[in-house]
């Protein structure tokens, strides 16, 4: 019972804009059916890319979700991932019964169930302004591409100077805002009048798991009654996908999109990149009860750590990941045996899956084999900065419905991945009161979130 937070944190709203689903229930049903969201990529030229597949968000239309001019103006500054997040935020706040009141309150025409000063935003996001970077490359090529091919070519330094002049002349006044990873959190704050804490975490694959954990602490320490927390990301563009593939982290199985991501399988050769947004409404437990909100789950524990080991590889014993999971248990005040299921990081990289398995053995001992450990990345791909938030939503759906999706594409056992990864199909769990969701990042950042059912018998309070 160490490190107990000061206040309990309820999850009262969920929203997703993801491959396989534009709402949590559709997504969860497809995951339980073992459906893959991985497709051949067609929206940019992948001819020169080592990876040509990904789990893409399809059929998104901002106009279906956002109608007010002020937010549409801000959306002009955004690329798709930020726009998905606007839609996911709207879903989550609607689910929590807060969206209409907040919009009215922000317009100065009434009061919401939560004061603007008690509403905060905490997000995990990826690199912003990627499309803009490509626009700039194209612009410079168009302006200066011929210079070096002239009969008497100028020096490279001269052309570089000219490029700087082009950039100065052609850079839009909003270019800096477009590049800023924290723009989204600011726009959401303006839209909903959220005058409480506002923070953006950029720790790659752990970003939105950390955003959720830190948001919970902002509530626990009394800085906010409600936090809109989650993440969004896409690396499905020519620049990022090529760079990520260079790290030897991405599967080369381009000819078999649905079968490419093989977590915990001996044949695994890397992750498949996904994209999307997921948002949650976290709320002070008492605040949620007093306003009669439906409580989906409790965010009962959060642990975070760093491997302090290698920049893009975990230690084989998974000690850093184990520390994050142990801290999540400690902050929830629960023994390892209380956990009934883990939504694993499970990227299907050679190193992650064995290290994560070792970490689970380390923390859970004999209990490690008594629960399904699932990588839903086998179907959604790896949403990078949004992965933690998406998998938190999936873990909460598992908890609510006492049903656990499968890990697909697991056919060839690996001796070092020796747990129950639930490869055979969705499994009903008559008793499931607590789940853990893991997110581990390049740079060694680890984050584990622990969710419990609101009616769980062991609630340690």
């Amino acid at each position: 019972m160490k490190n107990r937070p000061l206040r309990r944190v309820a999850v009262t709203g969920l929203g997703v804009m993801a491959p396989l689903g534009h709402d949590p229930q559709t997504l969860f049903d497809k995951l339980c059916a073992g459906e893959s969201g991985v497709v051949p990529l067609t929206h940019f030229n992948t001819a020169h890319s080592a990876s040509r597949i990904g789990a893409a968000v399809q059929g998104f239309n901002l106009g279906e979700h956002i109608h007010d001019r002020a937010t549409l103006r801000h959306a002009r500054l955004m690329e798709a991932p930020q726009q998905w997040a606007l839609a996911a935020a709207r879903q989550a706040l609607s689910d929590a019964g807060l969206e209409d009141g907040l919009l009215t309150q922000a317009a100065g025409q009434g009061a919401a169930a939560v004061a603007g000063s008690a509403l905060g935003i905490c997000l995990g996001t990826g690199l912003a302004g990627r499309g803009q970077m490509q626009d700039w490359s194209r612009l410079l090529l168009r302006h200066l591409g011929g210079r070096l091919r002239e009969a008497d070519p100028p020096s490279e330094d001269t052309v570089f100077d000219e490029a700087a002049a082009v950039m100065l002349r052609e850079t839009n006044p909003v270019a800096l805002l477009q590049q800023c990873p924290s723009l989204l959190a600011a726009v959401l704050a303006i839209r909903y009048g959220a005058r409480g804490p506002n923070a953006t975490v950029v720790s790659l694959c752990a970003a939105s798991a950390q955003a959720l954990g830190e948001a919970a602490w902002m509530i626990a320490r009394g800085d906010a009654a409600v936090m809109l927390a989650g993440g969004t990301d896409s690396m499905l563009n020519a620049t990022d996908l090529a760079a990520f593939a260079r790290l030897d982290a991405v599967s080369a199985a381009n000819d078999d999109p649905a079968g490419a991501c093989k977590p915990f399988d001996a044949r695994r050769d890397g992750c498949v990149v996904g994209e999307g947004a997921a948002m949650l409404v976290l709320e002070d437990w008492q605040h949620a009860q007093e306003r009669g909100a439906h409580i989906h789950a409790e965010l009962a524990g959060y642990g975070t750590s760093d491997d302090a080991w290698r920049i893009s590889a975990p230690p084989e014993d998974g000690s850093g990941a184990a520390l994050a999971m142990q801290r999540a248990l400690d902050s929830a005040g629960l023994p390892p045996e209380a956990i009934g299921h883990i939504n694993a990081h499970g990227t299907a990289t050679r190193l992650n899956d064995s290290a994560e398995t070792a970490a689970i053995h380390r923390v859970f001992g004999a209990h490690a084999r008594q629960m399904p450990i699932v990588s839903t990345k086998s179907m959604t791909g790896h949403l990078i900065a949004a992965a933690g938030a998406l998998e938190a939503v999936i873990a909460i759906q598992s908890l609510r419905q006492r049903r656990v999706p499968p890990t697909i594409n697991l056919a060839t056992p690996d001796a070092r991945c020796d747990l129950d990864y639930n490869p055979a199909g969705a499994r009903a769990m008559p008793v499931l009161d607590a789940v853990l969701s893991n997110s581990f990042a390049i740079g060694g950042v680890n984050a584990s979130l622990l969710f419990t059912r609101p009616d769980a018998a062991f609630t340690p309070h």
């Binding site: 001019r69 103006r73 168009r142 591409g145 011929g146 002239e150 002349r169 006044p173």
Partner: protein, 208 residues
């Protein structure tokens, strides 16, 4: 090679500006009327003015000189601020344009009266009428314009006055270009910009 004297300014400037306003401010074309106040009616904020200026420079090949006015000048009273602007910017800003229009009435007439040696007392209501628009929210129509600060003149800018200002800039800059000589450099820069915009690279136009 592109003719350096060719203008990028469209014949139907009002339509082109309306399109840019619609894009930046996410408006429908019917929202943008000649008498619409950019700030009060169309919700243009400071970032929107920056983008608008950028687009006019970039799309029309014009220089818009009022982009950089210091805080002190903007905080001055309307007559003092206008006089100071004229001294430092040399008669090319939006504010001064309005003053230049004095002969034809309109807001420039009000500016002329305010900035002249013998400032006539003018109400805010009369100022708005001269600008062919209504009194912006929060102003007393009977109050003297001497109580306004230079920056508050933004509140009186209408689509109509803005279109006329851009046309004024286009005319002035075309005259300078036509003079040639010392302006050859500007013309060449404009030609390079134009060549770049059409996607054609013209090696001959990029001298050292």
């Amino acid at each position: 090679m592109t003719d350096p004297a060719a203008s990028l300014v469209p014949a139907d400037l009002r339509a082109a500006l309306t399109a840019i306003l619609c894009e930046i401010l996410v408006l429908n074309p019917e929202d943008v009327q000649p008498g619409s106040k950019l700030v009060d009616d169309l919700d243009a904020d400071s970032i929107a003015f920056l983008e608008l200026t950028f687009r006019i420079e970039s799309d029309f090949g014009l220089e818009v000189p009022q982009a950089k006015v210091d805080e002190q000048t903007l905080s001055m009273s309307l007559p003092d601020g206008a006089a100071r602007l004229k001294a430092i910017m040399g008669g090319s800003t939006l504010f001064e344009f309005m003053e230049a229009e004095a002969g034809g009435g309109g807001l420039g007439g009000a500016m002329g009266l305010l900035g002249g040696a013998n400032p006539a007392p003018l109400t805010i209501g009369a100022l708005a009428a001269l600008a062919a628009t209504s009194v912006p929210k929060g102003y007393d129509p009977e109050a003297s314009t001497a109580t306004l600060r230079l920056r508050e003149l933004f509140r009186f800018i209408t689509v109509e006055s803005y279109v006329r200002y851009i046309q004024h800039l286009a005319d002035a800059q075309a005259r300078i270009k036509a003079l040639g000589g010392a302006e050859a450099m500007n013309a060449e820069a404009a030609a390079r910009l134009r060549a770049a915009k059409t996607g054609a690279f013209a090696p001959g136009s990029t001298g050292a």
